[in-house]
């Protein structure tokens, strides 16, 4: 019941996002969309996914989108023509996807293959094999450790891509060479030192004091989420985003220069790779100890303890990569 109401809210918001022309309002609606989908994920019992959505949607997504808006002129370009071809592609793809769902078993069907073979095995044996109460974590970090390694690599690749785009663009266009039509609409990037997101807000006493009080708690909460992924919803992805949110809050209020003094851009860039390296390194270590790649059981004398240690290490690697990527993106967007 609740899920249907939330789903219809989602549909309405999606339509509104498509219809609205003001990009700023669209950013706001996207934030709302993410709030709703987090609630929907909770209702559908996908708590870990909801956690990720909550952490990303609550702050970081808005900030990064605002950063993007600050870089482009903010006015949507008028459409030159009716986009018939894209429309056709979307319709065909959507139709094919809908057709595909016809063959899928119903949601929660006890006779679906996945509920007959894979799921019972995870539910019944994971506690004995991995020794971690949160099954999602044991699937994500141990049974499907390869996939998660791949996802973390995707994050690294994305970070490299964005870094290449933004840094490259900066070098080529030193301000004056911007297209003349939009040059008067670009945000003023005063003397090129810091941009819109990078300035300090020290004169806002209330924000200043509240940030001072809250930042340590946000950081600690992130670490709590990091290390309790085994027991409840949480883990490296969520923790990384929350930690980055705390750090970015500091950067927003005290300025990107101060944030750079706490963790320099070069350090942060190094940490992006270090997290992934830790993850892959655990895999290599298990191979050297005679096991298979990412088979944590060999890390300790007892298989369960080894699993525990391995999961903790790779989750920490994921968290480091995610947090460093987010902070790095913030640095890039705030110049």
């Amino acid at each position: 019941m609740i899920d249907i109401v939330l789903l219809s809210f989602l549909a309405v918001i999606a339509l509104a996002i498509v219809r609205l022309r003001d990009l700023f309002a669209v950013v706001m609606l996207t934030g709302f969309y993410s709030l709703l989908s987090a609630a929907l994920f909770v209702v559908l019992d996908a708590v870990d996914v909801a956690f990720t959505e909550a952490a990303v949607g609550a702050g970081i997504a808005t900030i990064l989108m605002l950063g993007t808006l600050g870089r482009i002129a903010g006015e949507p370009r008028e459409h030159r023509e009716r986009p018939w071809l894209p429309m056709l592609v979307v319709l065909i793809t959507g139709g094919a996807l809908l057709y595909g769902t016809l063959d899928m078993p119903h949601y929660g069907d006890p006779n679906a293959p996945v509920n007959l073979h894979v799921v019972p095995r995870y539910i019944e044996d994971s506690l004995a094999e991995i020794g971690v109460p949160n099954i999602v974590t044991s699937v994500l970090a141990s049974y499907r450790g390869y996939d998660t390694l791949g996802e973390t690599t995707v994050i690294l690749t994305a970070a490299i891509g964005v870094m290449g785009l933004l840094q490259g663009r900066r070098r080529k266009t030193p301000g004056s060479k911007a297209p003349p039509a939009s040059s008067n609409k670009r945000p003023r990037r005063a003397s090129g030192v810091t941009g819109m997101l990078g300035n300090t807000m020290q004169h806002h006493l209330i924000l200043h004091v509240i940030a001072k009080l809250l930042v340590p708690f946000i950081l600690l909460f992130a670490l709590y989420v990091q290390f309790h992924g085994d027991f409840g919803p949480g883990g490296g992805f969520q923790a990384g985003v929350i930690f980055a949110a705390g750090f970015i809050l500091y950067g927003l209020i005290f300025g990107v220069n101060d944030a750079g003094l706490v963790a320099s851009p070069a350090t942060v860039r190094l940490l992006i790779a270090a997290g992934l390296l830790l993850y892959a390194g655990v895999g290599v270590a298990t191979m050297l100890l005679g096991g298979q790649f990412l088979d944590y059981s060999v890390l300790s004398t007892e298989p369960i303890k080894g699993q525990h240690l391995g999961i903790m290490l790779i989750e920490f690697g994921v968290g480091t990569t995610v947090a460093a990527t987010m902070v790095r993106l913030f640095y890039l967007f705030s110049r």
């Binding site: 700023f24 309002a25 709030l35 702050g59 924000l207 909460f221």
Partner: protein, 97 residues
């Protein structure tokens, strides 16, 4: 009783959503999204109790802790972003009879 509370939250969400869609100024939309953030915290908490799995509360805690960061970024956007950039809506509203 939890159901009644959940229903009230959903209806209130719908009301706030109308304000998000109507605007008229961009600040009204932001305000409504903020209110919706609070309601999301509530519905997640209430739903946790409804299904007797209070470990959902961590998610609600995340929202309570970091949901205001976006608003701060918005304030910053208006202070340092390009003047007049997102004002067309405001002026449109002011010009209204």
């Amino acid at each position: 009783m939890f159901i009644a509370a959940a229903a009230a939250i959903l209806v209130a969400m719908a009301l706030a959503m109308i304000r998000v869609l109507l605007g008229p100024t961009v600040y009204d939309r932001i305000l409504a999204v903020n209110v919706l953030g609070t309601k999301t915290v509530l519905i997640i908490s209430v739903f946790g109790f409804l299904t007797e799995r209070p470990d959902f509360l961590d998610i609600a805690l995340v929202y309570a802790l970091i949901n205001f960061i976006g608003t701060i970024a918005i304030l910053k956007f208006f202070e340092y972003g390009e003047a007049g950039f997102s004002n067309p809506e405001v002026t449109r509203d002011e010009e209204r009879p």
